[in-house]
Point group: C2
Chain length 611, copies 2
Amino acid sequence: MHDQEHIRALTRQIRYWILASTTRAGSGHASSSLSAVELTTALLFGGFFRADPHNPAHPNNDRLIFSKGHAAPLLYSLYAAAGMVSEEELLSLRTFGSRLEGHPTPVFPYAEAATGSLGQGLSIGLGMALNGKYLDNLPYRTFVLLGDSEMAEGSQWEALQLAAHYELGNLVGILDVNRLGQRGQTMYGHDMEAYRRRVSAFGWDTFLVDGHSLEDMEHAYRKALIPGRTRPAMIIARTLKGKGVSLIEDMEGWHGKPLPEDDFDRAVADLGDVDKSLVGKMAHPEDLRPAQYGPKTADAPVYSPGEKVSTREAYGSALAGMHADYPDMVVLDGEVSNSTHAASFAKSYPDRFFEMFIAEQNMAGAALGLSLRGKKPFVSSFAAFMTRAFDQIRMSRYSEPNMVFAGSHAGISIGEDGASQMGLEDLAMFRSVLDSVVFHPCDAQSTDKVVREAAELEGITYIRTLRGKTPVLYGQEESFPPGGSKVLRESGDDAYTVCAAGITVHEALAAYEELLAQGIAIRVVDCYCIKPLDRETLLRSGETGGVLTVEDHYPQGGLGEAVCSELSDSATPVHSLAVGKLPRTGKPQELMDYAGISAKAIAERIRSLLA
Amino acid sequence: MHDQEHIRALTRQIRYWILASTTRAGSGHASSSLSAVELTTALLFGGFFRADPHNPAHPNNDRLIFSKGHAAPLLYSLYAAAGMVSEEELLSLRTFGSRLEGHPTPVFPYAEAATGSLGQGLSIGLGMALNGKYLDNLPYRTFVLLGDSEMAEGSQWEALQLAAHYELGNLVGILDVNRLGQRGQTMYGHDMEAYRRRVSAFGWDTFLVDGHSLEDMEHAYRKALIPGRTRPAMIIARTLKGKGVSLIEDMEGWHGKPLPEDDFDRAVADLGDVDKSLVGKMAHPEDLRPAQYGPKTADAPVYSPGEKVSTREAYGSALAGMHADYPDMVVLDGEVSNSTHAASFAKSYPDRFFEMFIAEQNMAGAALGLSLRGKKPFVSSFAAFMTRAFDQIRMSRYSEPNMVFAGSHAGISIGEDGASQMGLEDLAMFRSVLDSVVFHPCDAQSTDKVVREAAELEGITYIRTLRGKTPVLYGQEESFPPGGSKVLRESGDDAYTVCAAGITVHEALAAYEELLAQGIAIRVVDCYCIKPLDRETLLRSGETGGVLTVEDHYPQGGLGEAVCSELSDSATPVHSLAVGKLPRTGKPQELMDYAGISAKAIAERIRSLLA
């Protein structure tokens, strides 16, 4: 390791920056940052971490993720010590417009991902490690700084399982066991064996260290970074919260608090000699490039109008058919790939498919990690189970992600399996993600198209698919861009406009026939893109009597509220049909009747609106 | 144990019912049910399980939760063997209107909770066990049937940690390790040590058994049920999926599939002699009643108009002040009780407060378990982190729950901590829960009132609180029922109506002053109840120029879309201000300006709408 005295001096500088920046800000997690100083200083500047701070995007840089995101002052102080953050900037911590936010975000170039919701960093790291080992074929290592309190989060244990299963010897966890959570001691305090035993049982190599001993850290990093390892490594460090500042060291009540101005000088005096001019140097990464990859071409699926195909099946076929055009795609699924049909992709391209088992939180986090390493993940499970990963999805938005989520088995119309398997709130969830795009195609052809559209989009895209087979309505020549819709039935005498999506498009078309036979013409709009909506077509519906939305989804947050909102400043009345009753087991058609979203219900409602 | 021959004969009957019901239904998880037959038959009818099937509500019944909810056919078949379900009813599996739904729901009286989204049952069981040991002081045991695939879910490991921490010797997990998941082998196959090692490392006693050996089961249950245990117990059973039916035993490709009609007779022949007339008897529970509990009274908090108090603080004070009136309350918090102020309750009533650590999924599941045992949980964390538990919240709705969630630190206005800590989609989430009530009080007084309202409500209620202090607006004599609102400013000349909630009420009041000085009168409505909305007051706003909603929340699924939806069939225009930009670190006021939801933004928008 580099000269230990130099490293030790750097720790004093870094502690100084942590205190100075948080005291100046009047907020920030000083004590949580102080406990991890040796852990990270030894890593970054002890010759172990190989990255070029002048080139944060280098594909073979080692990666460091702050899963304990509230230790952001430490992250910033480390890079101040590396000479990449000036004193002036450091003292701008937590001010509006600063790159140094309260919790790390990608406005800070050395924050690998936005963190701060605990228990998510190991999954993100897992994704980056998967990329290094199985996709880019690069030897970079991914380090994840973990807090002890956040090991209560189940998502961490999902990541621990998957990392061992995938033999990610290039993933290293650094567990800062400082004993104290936010409001008191953690479940295990300083019972280091409790951590070692559990992590070891999950198939990781473990290294117990005194987290403030540079010798221990050096020794542990050496062992954890032996090349050719197939087991992930966890360095489990006994530390003290607030280490280095006698006023707060190992004391309760200091979580999330900076040193007050009046105590600052005394605290700094505890540190001893602080030399702000020292610069920490990182080892260089090998200048390697990601492996070249060109998927073999495949036939794009072809659909004939009237053919009955489920949109979930079309999703799988689309993935397989388009991969050659989108080599950066990877596909993840949560143990249901024969149901979501992600298996179609897995069959053709097994090396680009990752089985993520029944652990949706980790799947979403790993997808973010892959996305941040330049891949385009398509992530599937049942729409209902996407709710398991809402916090991860929420957080990923803050990381400049580029991912597609595909939720199958939408709605009450899945039938006999019953409520637990029905996605009835997924549109609300994905619509709430800033700038998301939400597709709900009604047939195989439009599904194929929107999957390709999704491949072209940045940010977070959601595609909602159905369990049952639906007839193909569209020809190959049609296009389905975001913000569009398809007017399927239209005349000069349309009494009302029915806006539908997914299964309800087919119900609306049947209602159209029923009403036509009674001399009532309705316009039928396929809102295959629920966000953003096709405003122009919706405004034009003002020439009819009004809009009736129909969705296989709960009443809040979905198509109905989206349309209401879009037309809220127009005079066009909007009424909505949705699933407003407790769902239950039954056949698809009887459930749609029960819920009042079937052709019968649509026709009935139109007639009553016109009465 | 009861006569082993009798038990063995019951297993044949139960296997018969599993096959018959699923084949008749044409769907259902036969193979997953078959693997757990001995496990559950030995438990229920071997003298271990103490419950009165004629009185499912008996407070001292043992509890059996099917975490592997897809084994519902087994649950129903067990109770057919107990004489509580007729053959006719059994053959109604998965039909519309049947008590025997595709996954268990409480329409079936022996389903403790609705399950089917994997990895949730152990948390629910943990809640029931907490109740038995620490609240009701009853010796009933809670058993949770678990699948191996679902042990990938992190939520299970949250439950494992918490159960050991709380010394729940009255909680027994039964892990059906049948090796096969939905689309193939699980991560560990039949590596029984991999399960034992991990569960044991988490502090549980483990018992490895041959899951088809009645002797093994008897032996294990005896050991797991020794009275006075303080460690939870996990029986880890090596089983075969589809056991007993040679056509499908231990074979891939049979997940979720019934035996086809053509194979039914051959499969039944494999079972040997089936005697449908046999009845399994359960041991009786001790006829004990829950411990009496009368909380000591406390002073209700008193607020003076103008006093500055945060609504999160008022939440905590309300809990403490009201407990004597609501003795069934219990309070759960996720390691942030000094921030959510649940700590105020914990301080006065430590025996009714449960620290659930940083594990929100388990917290929500445990709350359901407590609710199902007659308690009224108040569950708190940051609003942002409630998203971690969306699947558990979604599922709990299907179990006739009675719970209150309180999410603090709502909105961009929390300030410097930044995006990760900001609840900006929580209204969308909780509004999407069927029949939920959603409160967002703007001052301490109304917070105190709505917390008491929540105590009176059934179902799921959400209370959203703020980080910062706000002035008290209301007097003690005011009431804040669900479905109400407060008109804070009103005149005969109101040019527009501003509907606000939480922090934006105060911004709206400031905008009111600014506009008044410019000769513009606006109506200001405090929508302290966002669901259900005060329709009458909203309709009346039609007499003004229109409605402008303002919320510290993303644009989708919150107050704005709720109001748009409520007024969608009226001519009243609705416009909305919400957080439509990426949130960031900053001071509360500068962030509200940045996001366009501040007083300045409101006044500006009103002027432009009137221009």
